[in-house]
C-alpha cells in the first residue's frame, strides 16, 4: 500500500535512479545543458515583442518592425528546435533508464534463491516488472523532468519580466509564495484523497475478480443480487472517493488560473499608476505574467504523477534491495553421484525472518553411486525438502550433507545444479519448440544431445509423428501434448545433461492409463547408470528402487528393500495397503 511522503523522501527515492541515469551520461548532460537555452528563449520572446511594438509600431518605423519580426521568428524556431531535441532526448533517456533498470531487476529476481521465491507470488513479481515500469516510463519524463522544466521556465520568465519592467517583477514574486502555499496545501489533501481512492479501487477490483472467479458458486447460492448489491456499494464508494480528488484537483487548477487573472489586474494597476510605462512594456509584461503562471499550473498537475513515480520506485527498489545469498563457490569436481547425510536438520525461515518449524531432524543416510533410493511418507514429512536440499536450494541446514565428498552448503549452487538431473514437482512446459523445452537453452546442449535424451526416454516416437518434429512449437501450457507426453519432455530435460545423479519428485497428478504406461517405460531409462533419489508416489516406482526410506516427521522411520519392509509389517506395510486401496479406487478406465 502506498503512503504519503514528504518532498525530501520523494527526492531521496528519485536519487535511487541516479546510477542508471549516469549510465546514459551523454544524453543527460545534453538535456541539462539545453535547459538554460529554453529559459533564454522565454526571456527573449517577450522582449522582442516589446521592441516590435515600442520601436516598430509606436515609432512608426516599418524597417525596425521587420527586423524584430525576423528576430521573433528566429528565436521561436530556435526555441522549438531546442525544446524538441530536449523532449526527444529526455524521452529516450527515460526509456533507456527503464529498460536498463528492468533488465537489472529481472536479472536480480531470476537469480534470487528458492528462499525468496517460496514466499513471493509470481503474479506480484510480474506486476513489479511490468506495471510499475509502465508507470515509471509514462510519468518519469512527464512528472520529474517536466517539473524540472517547469522550474526552468519559471526562472526564465521571471528573468524576462525583470529585463522588461524591473520593479513589476515584485508583483509576480508576491504571488509566488501564495501559489506555493496553495500547491503545498492542496497536494497534501490531494495525495490523501488519491490514496483513499486507490484503496477503494483495490477493494472494487478485488471484489470483481473474486466474483468473476466464483461465478459458479454465486449461481449455486443464487446470490447474484447480493453480489450485485455489494458491487454497487464498492463501485459507488470508489466513484465518490475519486470524485473528491477530482474536485480538489479542479479547485487547485482553477484557483491558480484565477490568481493569474488577479495578478494581471494588480500588475496593470501598478504599471498604469506610474504612467511612465510604454505600451510595449505593458504588453510584454502581460505576456511574461502568462508565462509565469503557465508552469505553476502545469506543476500543480504533476502532483498526482509524481506520487505514482515515487510509489513505483519504492516498489522496484524494494525488490532490488532484497539480498539473499545461497551456496558457496566451491566448484563440484567428480560426479559419481555419492550422497552422504549425517545428522542433517533443517527448518524453513518463518515469514517474520526467524526460524520456522523443523522439517528434517537429524537424518543420516548414505547412497552409493548408481543406487536408487525411494523416499516415501505422508505429505509434509520432509521428502521434498530433502530433495531441495540436495539441489542446493537452501544452505542453512545443520549437520552435514555431502555430494561426492563436497559439502552442499559450500558448493556453487549453479555449478552443482548444472550437473544434476532434476524433475521438479510441478514441471513447466515453456513457450517454445520441443527442442528448447528439452535443452532450455543451456550451454553445451546441442541438437544431438536433445535427440539422444528424447530417444532415451522414448519421447522420440511421438515427436517424430509431429509435422515439425523437434521444431514443433508448444503452447504456453503445453496444451497440445498429452499429460504423459509432457512428462516425457520433462524427463528428457532432466537427463539431457547426462547427470550422474537424478532427483525425481514424482508428481501426484493422476495420469490416464496410456500416459502411465508411457511414463513407466521412460522410468527405466531414467534409472539406468545413475544415482536416483525419488520421492515416490506410484507403487511401480517404489518397487523398482534398490532401497526405500520411510520418512516420518523428518526422520527415517524405516529403511530396507520393498520385500524387507513388507515382511517387517511396519509403517511401510500399512502405507502400502492404504496406497493399493486408493490406487484401486482412483484409477480411471482405459
Amino acid at each position: 500500500m502506498a503512503k504519503r511522503r514528504s518532498v525530501f523522501a520523494g527526492l531521496r527515492l528519485l536519487m535511487r535512479l541516479w546510477p542508471w541515469i549516469m549510465r546514459r551520461k551523454k544524453s543527460f548532460i545534453i538535456v541539462v545543458a539545453l535547459a538554460p537555452f529554453s529559459a533564454l528563449f522565454l526571456m527573449l520572446l517577450p522582449n522582442t515583442i516589446r521592441l516590435a511594438i515600442d520601436e516598430g509600431m509606436q515609432a512608426g518605423d516599418a524597417s525596425a518592425l521587420t527586423l524584430y519580426i525576423f528576430m521573433f521568428v528566429g528565436i521561436f524556431v530556435a526555441e522549438f528546435a531546442v525544446l524538441s531535441l530536449q523532449r526527444y532526448l529526455m524521452a529516450v533517456l527515460v526509456q533507456r533508464v527503464v529498460r536498463d533498470l528492468r533488465h537489472d531487476l529481472a536479472n536480480h529476481l531470476i537469480t534470487l534463491p528458492a528462499a525468496f521465491h517460496d514466499r513471493q507470488l509470481s503474479g506480484v513479481l510480474v506486476t513489479r516488472a511490468t506495471s510499475d515500469f509502465d508507470a515509471l516510463s509514462e510519468s518519469l519524463g512527464h512528472g520529474v523532468f517536466g517539473a524540472a522544466a517547469d522550474l526552468v521556465a519559471l526562472a526564465g520568465s521571471l528573468a524576462a519580466l525583470v529585463m522588461i519592467s524591473g520593479p513589476l517583477v515584485f508583483i509576480a514574486l508576491a504571488f509566488l509564495p501564495v501559489v506555493g502555499c496553495l500547491i503545498g496545501l492542496f497536494s497534501r489533501s490531494l495525495q490523501k484523497a488519491m490514496l483513499f481512492a486507490r484503496a477503494k479501487l483495490a477493494v472494487l477490483n478485488g471484489f470483481t475478480q473474486e466474483c468473476v472467479a466464483a461465478c459458479a458458486t454465486i449461481h449455486t447460492l443464487a446470490a447474484e443480487d447480493d453480489a450485485e448489491r455489494r458491487f454497487e456499494s464498492a463501485s459507488n464508494a470508489y466513484r465518490d472517493a475519486q470524485m473528491k480528488s477530482v474536485i480538489l484537483d479542479s479547485v487547485l487548477n482553477s484557483i491558480i488560473e484565477g490568481l493569474s487573472a488577479i495578478a494581471l489586474g494588480v500588475l496593470l494597476y501598478f504599471a498604469f499608476s506610474s504612467r511612465a510605462i510604454t505600451p510595449g512594456v505593458l504588453i510584454a509584461s502581460v505576456a511574461c505574467l502568462q508565462q509565469i503562471f503557465e508552469p505553476l499550473r502545469e506543476f500543480s498537475n504533476r502532483i498526482a504523477v509524481l506520487q505514482g513515480v515515487f510509489t513505483s520506485i519504492e516498489r522496484i527498489f524494494g525488490l532490488l534491495d532484497t539480498r539473499i545469498a545461497c551456496g558457496g563457490d566451491t566448484l563440484p569436481v567428480a560426479s559419481r553421484g555419492m550422497i552422504g547425510a549425517r545428522d542433517l536438520s533443517f527448518a524453513y525461515t518463518a515469514p517474520d525472518g526467524g526460524p520456522g518449524r523443523g522439517i528434517i531432524h537429524a537424518l543420516s543416510f548414505q547412497a552409493r553411486s548408481g543406487e536408487s533410493v525411494a523416499l516415501v511418507g505422508a505429505t509434509g514429512s520432509g521428502k521434498t525438502t530433502f530433495a531441495r536440499l540436495l539441489a542446493a536450494e537452501y544452505d542453512s541446514y545443520s549437520g552435514s550433507l555431502a555430494i561426492d565428498g563436497a559439502e552442499v552448503s559450500g558448493l556453487n549452487a549453479e555449478a552443482h545444479r548444472s550437473r544434476l538431473g532434476i524433475v521438479p514437482q510441478d514441471p513447466e512446459i515453456f513457450q517454445g519448440t520441443i527442442a528448447f523445452n528439452i535443452s532450455l537453452g543451456r550451454e553445451g546442449i546441442d541438437a544431438a544431445a536433445v535427440e539422444e535424451a528424447a530417444c532415451a526416454v522414448g519421447a522420440d516416437r511421438f515427436i517424430a509423428r509431429l509435422p515439425l518434429g523437434y521444431a514443433s512449437h508448444l503452447d504456453e501450457n503445453g496444451v497440445n501434448l498429452s499429460q504423459g507426453e509432457r512428462q516425457l519432455i520433462v524427463f528428457a530435460r532432466a537427463i539431457v545433461n547426462k547427470p550422474a545423479m537424478l532427483i525425481l519428485d514424482e508428481a501426484t497428478s493422476s495420469l490416464d492409463a496410456a500416459s502411465e504406461r508411457l511414463v513407466q517405460t521412460a522410468m527405466e531409462a531414467l534409472f539406468r547408470d545413475r544415482t536416483v533419489i525419488v520421492i515416490a508416489h506410484r507403487l511401480a516406482t517404489v518397487r523398482k528402487c534398490d532401497r526405500i526410506l520411510v520418512i516420518e516427521e523428518g526422520r527415517i522411520a524405516e529403511e530396507g528393500t520393498h520385500h524387507e519392509l513388507l515382511r517387517a509389517h511396519g509403517i511401510y506395510y500399512a502405507m502400502l495397503r492404504a496406497f493399493v486401496d486408493r490406487e484401486k479406487r482412483s484409477r480411471k478406465p482405459v
Binding site: I49, I53, G56, M57, Q58, L65, F72, F76, F80, R87, Y88, V92, A106, N107, I110, A114, H117, V126, A129, T130, N205, C211, V212, A214, A216, T217, T220, L221, A222, E224, D225, A227, E228, R229, E232, V246, I247, S254, E257, G258, A261, I262, L264, G265, V266, L268, F272, P279, I283, V286, Q290, A391, R417, P424, L440, G441, E443, K584, R585, K588
Partner: protein
C-alpha cells in the same frame, strides 16, 4: 438511476412473474456507442447543460480580460477611440462601471479596470471549478452505472461466458473498458464543449476587431490541423505496437516467474533472461518510435500559435503604423492566439479518445450481447406432473454437448428420487455425472418435460429460485475475502444468529475448528485471509449449503479432496441430515450408504441397484465399469 437499468437488483427479488416479464422486456442496451450514450448519458443532460453554461461564462471571462487590459494599453497611446465599447462590455458584468461619469473620462476612471479584472479573476475561479465538476460528475456516474450493469450481466450470464472470454478478460472489461467510456463522457465532453465554445467565441471576438487580420492569423492553423490529422494514425499505430510489445513482455515475464523453480533447478536462467531482454528491447524500441512521433506532433500546436503571432505582429504592426489599429489590439490578438493553442492540441486528442471509447464499447457490447440465462418459461402450461412423493423425476433425459475438445452427453436417462432417500451415482470421469447435476440445476438447459422438481418442470422454475431449493455442492467451491460469517450468509436475505451459523458448521463437522480460530466466525478466509485446507474448504462449503436448508442436495464428488478420516465424518454428517440427496462418488464408503446406486457409463445408466447388488454383479464397478 435504477429506472434506466434493464435488469435491476430490485427486479429479481421474489416474484417469478416480474422476472418473466423482465427477461422478455429486457432492452438490448448498447449495440452502438450512440445507443450507449442514449441509455447512460442522455438522462444526465442537465449536468452537462449546467457545465456548458459555466463553461461559457468561463470563456467569456477569459476573453474579456485581455480586452480590458487593451483599454489601458490603448490609453497609453494618445488616441483612445473606442473606450465606450470596452466599458459597455465591462458593464455586462460589473454594472457600476457603466455609470456615465466613468465611461466619459478614462483618466479618472482607469482604476476600475484593474479592479474589474481582479473581480473577474475571482469569478473565474468559481465558474471554472463548476464547469469542470459539472462535466466530470456525470462522467463518473455513467461509468459507475455501466459498470454495475456489466457486472450484473456477467453474474447472471450462463457459465459459458467464462469459457468464452476468460476471467482476466472479463475483469478487465469491467474495470478498464468502462473507464475509457468515462474518459470520453467526462474529459472528452468537456474538451469538445471547450473547443467549440472557445473557437466560436474567440474567432467571433477577433472578427469584431479586425476581420482581415483574423483571417490571416488563422491561416497557419489550417495546414497544421491537417498535418496533425495525417500524423494521428501513425501515432495510433505506434502506440498499438507499443501496447503489443508491453503485452508480450508481460507474457514472457509471467512465464519466467511462474516457472522460476524449473528454471533455477535446470540452471536455465541465461536462456530466459535473453527472452526477457529481447522483449524488453522491443518495448524500448517501440517507445522510442512513439517518442519520435510525439516530438513531431506535440509542438505543432505551439508552432502554429507562434506563426499566427508573427502574422499579427507583421500585418497588425503595419495596421498600427497606418493608424488603423492600436498597440492594445495587437496584445488582444496575441493572447487570443495563445488561447487557441489549447483546444487545437486537444482537438486531435478527442479523435483518439473517441476511437478508444469505441473499441472499449465494442468489448462491453460483446458482453451485453451474450445471451442471458433464460428465466422460467411458461409456468402455467407445464404445471404439476404428479403428486407422488417423488421430489425429483427425470424421464427420458437426453442432452449432448460437443466441441472440439469435449463431448459430454446424457442419453435417455430416467430415474426418480423419493423424499429422504439417498441416491448414489457412480461412473468414470466423463460418464455424464456432472452434466446431470448441471441439467437439474439449470446450469445447462434440459429439454422440455424431462426433469421435474417437486412435480414441476425445472424449466418452469426461475433458475435462482430453483437453486435456492436445490443445494448443489461443487467440487471447487469458492470463498470471498471476507469473514467466515459473511461467506456463510452470502446471498441470503434473512439475518442469522451465531448459533444458527454454528449449527450449520456443526452439521458439516467443522464447528470445532472454526471455534478454535482466534477470531471464530470473524476469521477472514479467501485469498487474502486464512488458508484453509482442502478438507476444511469442502466442509465450510457444505455448511454454507446446510444453512440454506435446501430441499434436495446434489453432492458432486466432493469427497475426493479430503482424507479418509474427514470423509467418514462428512458422510456421517450428511446422512444425519435426513435430507434427499444425490451424491456422485466412486468411494465404496459413500456408495455403500446409498439407498440406490446408478452406474453411469457414456451418458447412459448401465446398471442400477444397491451397492451390494452392483458389487456382486460387477466386481470393481466403482472403478468406472472396467473390470480389468
Amino acid at each position: 438511476m435504477t429506472a434506466i437499468r434493464p435488469s435491476g437488483v430490485t427486479a429479481r427479488k421474489d416474484s417469478i412473474v416480474a422476472i418473466a416479464t423482465n427477461s422478455i422486456g429486457t432492452e438490448r442496451p448498447c449495440s452502438s456507442l450512440a445507443d450507449f450514450a442514449r441509455k447512460y448519458v442522455f438522462p444526465l443532460w442537465f449536468w452537462y447543460l449546467g457545465g456548458a453554461v459555466f463553461l461559457t461564462i468561463t470563456n467569456a471571462i477569459v476573453l474579456l480580460l485581455p480586452r480590458l487590459a487593451r483599454d489601458l494599453v490603448n490609453a497609453l497611446t494618445d488616441t483612445a477611440p473606442d473606450v465606450p465599447e470596452v466599458f459597455a462590455a465591462v458593464g455586462e458584468i460589473v454594472p457600476a462601471l457603466s455609470e456615465p461619469g466613468v465611461s466619459g473620462a478614462l483618466a479618472q476612471g482607469w482604476t476600475s479596470i484593474p479592479l474589474a479584472i481582479i473581480a473577474l479573476g475571482c469569478l473565474l475561479i468559481v465558474a471554472r471549478v463548476l464547469s469542470r465538476i459539472l462535466f466530470f460528475w456525470p462522467g463518473r456516474r455513467v461509468e459507475a452505472e455501466a459498470r454495475l450493469d456489466l457486472f450484473g450481466r456477467i453474474m447472471r450470464a450462463p457459465r459459458e461466458i467464462l469459457y468464452r472470454f476468460g476471467q482476466g478478460d472479463l475483469v478487465s472489461r469491467i474495470a478498464n473498458d468502462t473507464g475509457y467510456l468515462r474518459i470520453l463522457f467526462a474529459f472528452g465532453m468537456l474538451s469538445v464543449a471547450n473547443v467549440i465554445l472557445l473557437l466560436a467565441m474567440t474567432i467571433g471576438a477577433m472578427l469584431s476587431f479586425h476581420a482581415g487580420l483574423t483571417l490571416c492569423a488563422l491561416l497557419p492553423f489550417i495546414p497544421i490541423v491537417f498535418l496533425i490529422r495525417a500524423l494521428l494514425p501513425k501515432i495510433h499505430a505506434a502506440s498499438m505496437q507499443n501496447q503489443t510489445a508491453i503485452g508480450s513482455l508481460s507474457a514472457v515475464m509471467t512465464e519466467s516467474f511462474r516457472g522460476i523453480a524449473s528454471i533455477r533447478l535446470h540452471t536455465a536462467r541465461a536462456a530466459f533472461l535473453e527472452r526477457i531482454d529481447d522483449a524488453n528491447e522491443e518495448v524500448y524500441r517501440s517507445f522510442r518510435r512513439l517518442a519520435l512521433l510525439q516530438t513531431i506532433v506535440i509542438p505543432l500546436a505551439g508552432i502554429s500559435v507562434r506563426i499566427a503571432q508573427t502574422i499579427v505582429l507583421a500585418y497588425g504592426g503595419a495596421e498600427v503604423i497606418a493608424g488603423r489599429l492600436q498597440a492594445g489590439d495587437i496584445m488582444v490578438f496575441n493572447v487570443y492566439m495563445a488561447s487557441l493553442a489549447v483546444p487545437l492540441a486537444f482537438g486531435g486528442g478527442i479523435i483518439a479518445l473517441i476511437e478508444r471509447a469505441r473499441s472499449a464499447h465494442a468489448r462491453i457490447a460483446d458482453i451485453f450481447a451474450f445471451p442471458e440465462e433464460t428465466g422460467c418459461r411458461g409456468a402455467e402450461q407445464r404445471g404439476t406432473q404428479s403428486s407422488a412423493p417423488q421430489i425429483l423425476t427425470v424421464s427420458s433425459l437426453s442432452r449432448e454437448f460437443r466441441s472440439e475438445k469435449t463431448n459430454f452427453k446424457i442419453d435417455d436417462v430416467s430415474f426418480s428420487v423419493a423424499e429422504q432417500t439417498v441416491l448414489g451415482i457412480a461412473g468414470a470421469i466423463g460418464s455424464g455425472k456432472s452434466l446431470l447435476f448441471d441439467l437439474i440445476t439449470r446450469f445447462e438447459e434440459p429439454p422440455e418435460g424431462s426433469i421435474f422438481f417437486q412435480g414441476r418442470d425445472v424449466l418452469a422454475w426461475e433458475p435462482a429460485h430453483l437453486r435456492r431449493k436445490i443445494g448443489y455442492a461443487l467440487q471447487t467451491a469458492r470463498f470471498f475475502s471476507d469473514s467466515i460469517r459473511a461467506n456463510m450468509v452470502f446471498g441470503l436475505e434473512k439475518a442469522f444468529s451465531d448459533e444458527e451459523i454454528y449449527h450449520a458448521l456443526y452439521r458439516a463437522a467443522i464447528a470445532d475448528e472454526v471455534r478454535g480460530f482466534t477470531d471464530g466466525l470473524d476469521t477472514i478466509t479467501g485469498e487474502k485471509g486464512m488458508r484453509l485446507s482442502g478438507g476444511q474448504r469442502q466442509r465450510l462449503a457444505l455448511a454454507r449449503l446446510f444453512l440454506r436448508e435446501p430441499e434436495l442436495l446434489l453432492l458432486d464428488d466432493i469427497f475426493s479432496a479430503v482424507d479418509q478420516k474427514t470423509e467418514k465424518r462428512l458422510i456421517d454428517a450428511v446422512l444425519a441430515l435426513r435430507k434427499t440427496i444425490i451424491v456422485a462418488s466412486h468411494r465404496p464408503s459413500v456408495l455403500g450408504n446409498c439407498d440406490e446406486v446408478l452406474l453411469f457409463s457414456g451418458g447412459r445408466i448401465l446398471d442400477r441397484g444397491s451397492y451390494a447388488e452392483l458389487e456382486a454383479r460387477r466386481p470393481h464397478f466403482d472403478r468406472g465399469g472396467d473390470d480389468g
